[in-house]
Amino acid sequence: EKTRQVSLEVIPNWLGPLQNLLHIRAVGTNSTLHYVWSSLGPLAVVMVATNTPHSTLSVNWSLLLSPEPDGGLMVLPKDSIQFSSALVFTRLLEFDSTNVSDTAAKPLGRPYPPYSLADFSWNNITDSLDPATLSATFQGHPMNDPTRTFANGSLAFRVQAFSRSSRPAQPPRLLHTADTCQLEVALIGASPRGNRSLFGLEVATLGQGPDCPSMQEQHSIDDEYAPAVFQLDQLLWGSLPSGFAQWRPVAYSQKPGGRESALPCQASPLHPALAYSLPQSPIVRAFFGSQNNFCAFNLTFGASTGPGYWDQHYLSWSMLLGVGFPPVDGLSPLVLGIMAVALGAPGLMLLGGGLVLLLHHKKYSEYQSIN
């Protein structure tokens, strides 16, 4: 749908300790989208599409916080649900890329022990809620940090919803619609454990049936909004229209991002993952129950050469999450306009000139014939 009435609500837990549960509700004329973000366990989002503008989210905190959270999170009425899935950001990865050649079998280098995002402590999401921009930021650091690598650092997940189609000012400037929600991940100020550390994210999602969602790499001729990036990566849950995640394979080592600070972003293929090998998210369990097929993939940012996190201790990457057909970028009006003028002008000139010459020639030959 073109526009949606978007509301952001932090659902408080009156009973116990502070827990971040952010509900983004995007109401259209015939449908409602629910994005439920939570830092309960690893950071996770549950996305639900319903075919009624009146569907609601119901949270049972005591169930959600119990060891068996099944049913603690529901979207009602249940039969209105058209699509649902989840993404879980399970671990922050770090690799030592010194002494790595491009041809090596493991191009990323030796891995350091990952940071589990289930063991992070997060800020109070209410403080960062901005109703004007429809955004909120989860900011966290490891609860136990014996080497104090995060003493001055944090990992931030900025979530933003949109009421209409537009394009952000910061690269990679992905086109978003009212059906989508943008996630911007930023690692700021954390001390890397090596001189040339590469960072990555482990992401888990729910498979549909026995299969994993499909990962697509689309090549395009258009890099106007993300200079020198000609690729768009997509994660699709089933046949369209369904849910999708979409990102440009580029991260930035400076703010604001630019071409000189662009890092390549690589996504590994999706592979089925055993549930116990991943940090578990209570909200995913609460919504989908315990019988689920998890699939996981790794995103890694940067390469052993070129700019990297080590330059400024900054790394940012963003993706779009949505339901329906993924937004498709077209050539910008400026490009089309310039091309129209650039091809039209000489063409018209040739046509007009040829016509004038033809007429002139005709006159001339008539004149000759009289003579």
């Binding site: 001729i221 890099d223 200079p227 020198a228 000609f230 071409r259 650039a342 000489p346 000139g353």
Partner: protein, 465 residues
């Protein structure tokens, strides 16, 4: 058969000239190689002319060939590195213009060529010393001095070509000179990196000294060019003595204000030149990343495809030169070349087709354009203004290249390669517009630009009779 005709015609054309100028000093007594009126001697001169430009073209692209080494050894970023090219270009915006005047009015063609060759040599030596002393400002200054000589030398080279070959094999000569320049660039690209690694092995370490010595050895090509300049000056003077051939100027007073007397077709040729070249050279400069990112090429493959334009133009320039010589119709050939370039850029911008197709097309059209466009200047300008006209053409080409390089970098960083390509397409399109306009203006004014080779012959005979 045709070649014999060509030679006979060339000799015939020489005949009446000699008769007009009174009895020469017994040319028949000299062997063909030493007789300035014979083809064999002109070929010797042509060889010297080609090597005259070799040194400056070889050294011009030294920074590009040693980009990683310069940036590492001198500890500069890409922006500062690019200043090496900017320092070459900026003085030429003014100096090319005066280079023409200096040749015509002050030094004469012979001394002018020698002096500019000296500047090229000194500039390269200072550039190399900057490396040895680890002073980047000295390198920049070296490039500045090098630039003072470089483009003016190209003007001198063209003037020599016109003075020896006008009405004979002029287009072929322009083509050959250009392919020599491209061979210089290509040899430099492949040789300098290898040379650097050899010096590095010899000295035991990489560093600014290694860089400086490598550049100093590269400067040998400049010495070679200086020797050619001296030999050419001698032969030209000798030809003047024997044939009473004049030194490429009439003695008429030339003023700066001559520029306003340039005809409309000449201005259109300038516009075609600037708009065309700004869509080729800056693209090649920024092309490598384009081929790796958009088409997934490896680094070596990207370098190879990026240099294919030069590689193609080396053998094709003489071929196209001969073609244009034989057929005439220069405007039609320029039109074809510009249109082909437009198609090539559109292929690169809007398709994922194998870029070898587009780059080979670009290489062919680039060679064709050079062979058909540059000689046109000689048809629309009186001979005494030729140096000025060519100087002016190179000057605004330099201005265009300096400005467009900066703009292209800015566009690339903010809007990406697609927009950059669209920008280049717009430039080529402006060039195409000017070609069409030139054709119409020439047609309306009854100009001689688009005559076939046969028509040119007829006119020449009617003049001599």
């Amino acid at each position: 058969m045709e070649e014999e005709d060509e030679e006979a015609r060339a000799l015939l054309a020489g005949g009446p000239d000699e008769a007009d100028r009174g009895a020469p000093a017994a040319p028949g007594a000299l062997p063909a190689l030493c007789d300035p009126s014979r083809l064999a001697h002109r070929l010797l001169v042509l060889l010297l002319m080609c090597f005259l430009g070799f040194g400056s073209y070889f050294c011009y692209d030294n920074p590009a060939a040693l980009q990683t080494q310069v940036k590492r050894d001198m500890q500069v970023n890409t922006t500062k590195f690019m200043l090496l090219y900017a320092w070459y270009s900026w003085p030429n915006v003014v100096l090319c213009f005066f280079g023409g005047f200096l040749i015509d009015r002050v030094f004469g063609i012979r001394w002018g060529t020698i002096i500019f060759s000296c500047f090229v040599c000194i500039g390269q030596v200072v550039f190399a010393l900057g490396g040895i002393f680890n002073a980047f400002w000295l390198m920049e200054f070296g490039r500045f001095v090098f630039g003072i000589g470089g483009e003016s030398l190209a003007v001198a080279q063209n003037t020599y070509a016109v003075s020896w070959f006008k009405g004979k094999e002029l287009n072929l000569v322009f083509g050959l000179q250009l392919s020599m320049a491209r061979i210089g660039s290509t040899v430099n690209m492949n040789l300098m990196g290898w040379l650097y690694s050899k010096i590095e092995a010899l000295l035991g370490s990489a560093g600014h000294t290694t860089l400086g010595i490598t550049l100093m050895i590269g400067g040998i090509t400049c010495i070679l060019s200086l020797i050619c300049a001296l030999a050419l000056a001698y032969l030209d003077q000798r030809a003047e003595r024997i044939l009473h051939k004049e030194q490429g100027k009439t003695g008429e007073v030339i003023k700066l204000t001559d520029v306003k007397d340039f005809s409309l077709p000449l201005w259109l040729i300038f516009i075609i030149c600037v708009c065309y070249y700004v869509a080729v050279f800056p693209f090649i400069g920024l092309g490598k990343v384009f081929f790796t990112e958009k088409f997934g090429f490896s680094s070596q493959a990207a370098s190879a495809i990026n240099s294919v334009v030069y590689v193609i133009s080396a053998p094709m320039s003489p071929v196209f030169g001969l073609l244009v010589d034989k057929t005439g119709k220069n405007i039609i050939w320029v039109l074809c070349a510009v249109a082909a370039t437009l198609v090539s850029h559109m292929m690169l911008a809007f398709t994922m087709w194998n870029p070898w197709i587009a780059m080979c097309l670009l290489g062919l059209s680039y060679s064709l354009l050079a062979c058909a466009l540059w000689p046109m200047v000689a048809f629309v300008v009186p001979e005494h203004q030729l140096g000025t006209a060519y100087g002016f053409m190179q000057s605004i080409q330099n201005l265009g290249l300096a400005i467009i390089s900066i703009i292209a970098g800015m566009i690339l960083d903010s809007r990406g390669y697609l927009f950059l390509e669209v920008f280049f397409i717009a430039c080529v399109s402006l060039s195409l517009l000017s070609v069409v306009l030139l054709y119409l203006v020439n047609r309306a004014q009854g100009g001689n630009l688009n005559y076939s080779a046969r028509q040119r012959e007829e006119i020449k005979f009617s003049h001599t009779e």
